[in-house]
């Protein structure tokens, strides 16, 4: 399976990554190789196998609706790259 340069650009955009031209080339090749490798799984007959979403044999892990203390705001904002008062500050989102 060949990953085109356009595919790489699309995936990079979704991940908000800016790639240099030679990187697009390089990652395209690597991604193609990975998919080629994973393709081996297609050899298995999974006709009668239920799709697996979990590998642990658990279901219905739930908690009661109880309010627990939140973090102090100062701790919440401690890792914020930029803050403004009690808010996280980010580059302007809409025009």
């Amino acid at each position: 399976m060949k990953i085109s340069k356009k595919d790489v650009e699309h995936v990079a955009k979704l991940a908000r990554l800016r790639l240099a031209e030679e990187e697009k080339e390089k990652f395209g090749k690597q991604l193609s190789e990975i998919l080629e490798y994973v393709k081996k799984l297609n050899e298995l007959d999974t006709e009668k196998v239920e799709p697996t979403s979990h590998v642990v044999p658990l279901k219905n892990v739930m908690r009661e609706d109880e309010v627990r203390p939140s973090l102090p705001v100062e701790d919440v904002l401690r890792n914020a790259p930029v803050r403004e008062g009690k808010y996280f500050k980010v580059p302007k989102i809409i025009q």
Partner: protein, 483 residues
């Protein structure tokens, strides 16, 4: 050629649980920014979400009330996108196996029942809140508050079954009433706990294929939904008439300008790369639990509306008004239980009580006047102890003071005068003092008696029993004319 409107709605309803869907942070609205957050809802590394059982219970209630089939097996998926209101860069949602599907809600349009199909209802977490522009006072930045991130949501997705603004409005109203009756969402649109997105397209009348649709966001009230749809209907119809095509895109409603505008130009369609959420195990709904929830469902608004009409003999209009919210319907039924005259109670509740509440901007739950007060007052009218006219004053006094009807009547000395001998004196006095009207009456002007009755009422400050006054006046005047 005529064009037909086609609308489908996506409704987000925040569930009114105490804690968030995957962590113990409170869901309360209006807290200090970022004060209701923790490592789970902030998406810090190494944390695990744990599902709130009440969220599932509330969601099942909604699904049952909307006649859905409930999936025995469902699970959660990650919806991946980058936006600053989403701390994990994915939203936990249900894409492949929503917990409920194939439901419907009926609406009544001009006396006929119309069914609006619901494609599915799924569970998800709300995102945080971004503040821009004027709300921040900053030119180059936006601010983020994560208090809302992780608040439980159900998304109700209808099929494109609505073909008029009236149908859309009815559906929204019914849906809101159902959610309120179920007690699972407070439906405060101004706080964002109930949000609508509309998919709208137009097609030539008789055409069965759907036209290109526009998704509309930023609709913060019923009124805005309807205004935006009306605008968009016109815009799309004009394009089609000119032989142009409608671009399938997402648009925002601009309330100030009264028009829609494209949200994200020509950017590619969203690509959410859903995949199963590995941090949450599958949800398998126990039939016993389902049965328990089913049995605990309250009577829903439409059923109650029908029952009230039948049980108390009130018109459809009255019943619709009274069942619009559960506390109001409870108030009505409690009053009728104490004073079994359905129509009389509905008149007083709809006109006087609702009017008074509106004036003072109060909810029925906060009314100082209780069902027992109203029933007591109506009993006084029925027993002839007060007139309907005085009753309005009694009502006002009860509403302000919260006192009972008998006490008010006693304190104010408002009891109706039904004592014949006492009344006779007043009637005779009025006859003496108004010879002109007496002459008119006896000369054939039957209407003159109304004036005389009015005079007696004035003398007694409205406390006279009008039937009695009428009877006594006629007796006296007829005797007089024979003399």
């Amino acid at each position: 050629m005529n064009y037909q409107l086609v609308v489908g709605l996506e409704v987000h309803a925040e569930l009114s649980t105490g804690s968030k869907v995957f962590c113990g942070c409170p869901t309360r609205f209006g807290g200090e920014p970022n004060s209701q957050t923790c490592p789970v809802c902030l998406g810090l590394p190494g944390v695990l979400p744990v599902l709130n059982k009440k969220v599932v219970e509330y969601a099942i209630r909604a699904a049952l009330a909307m006649n859905c089939e409930i999936s025995r097996h469902s699970r959660f998926d990650r919806k991946n996108y980058y936006y600053p209101d989403l701390p994990k860069n994915y939203q936990i949602s249900q894409n492949y196996l929503p917990f409920a599907y194939n439901g419907h809600l009926n609406i009544s349009i001009k006396g006929a029942v119309k069914r609006i199909d619901i494609d599915n209802i799924h569970l998800e977490e709300d995102a945080g809140k971004n503040l821009h522009g004027e709300d921040t006072g900053l030119a180059e930045d936006s601010l983020v508050d994560f208090n809302r991130a992780g608040v439980p949501l159900i998304e109700i997705v209808t099929r494109p079954d609505m073909h008029s603004l009236e149908e859309v409005e009815k559906f929204m109203t019914n849906l809101r009433d159902v959610l309120l009756y179920l007690g699972i969402c407070d439906c405060r649109m101004e706080e964002g706990s109930l949000r609508f997105e509309a998919n709208i397209s137009m097609r030539p009348e008789g055409e069965s294929r759907l036209g290109n649709r526009v998704e509309m966001k930023n609709l913060n009230s019923f009124k805005m939904v309807l205004k935006a749809l009306e605008y968009e209907m016109g815009r799309q119809e004009n394009l089609l008439r000119e032989g142009k095509t409608v671009q399938p895109e997402t648009m925002l409603w601009d309330e100030a300008k009264g028009m829609t505008s494209a949200m994200r130009g020509k950017e590619e369609a969203p690509d959410y790369r859903y995949f199963p959420e590995p941090d949450l195990v599958p949800l398998v709904i126990d039939p016993e639990w389902l049965k328990e929830i089913k049995e605990s469902l309250p009577e829903l608004p439409q059923a109650r509306e029908m029952r009230l009409m039948k049980e108390y003999g009130i018109p459809e209009y009255d019943s619709a008004v009274l069942t619009a919210n559960r506390p109001l319907a409870d108030f009505y039924e409690e009053t009728v239980r104490l004073f079994p005259n359905g129509k009389m109670v509905s008149n007083w509740v709809m006109v006087e009580l609702l009017g008074r509440l509106k004036e003072r901007n109060l909810k029925i739950e906060d009314s100082p006047l209780r069902p027992s007060h109203l029933a007591e007052m109506l009993t006084l009218i029925k027993d002839g102890l007060i007139s309907g006219k005085i009753a309005k004053d009694v009502f006002t006094e009860m509403f302000t003071s919260g006192k009972g009807a008998r006490i008010v009547v006693e304190e104010k000395g408002w009891a109706q005068i039904s004592d014949e001998s006492q009344m006779k004196e007043i009637v005779e006095e009025v006859i003496r003092e108004n010879p002109k009207s007496v002459e008119d009456f006896q000369g054939g002007k039957k209407k003159a008696i109304t004036f005389l009755v009015g005079q007696v009422m004035k003398e007694t400050r409205g406390k006279a029993n009008p039937q009695l006054v009428n009877k006594l006046l006629r007796e006296k005047l007829q005797i007089k004319s024979k003399m």
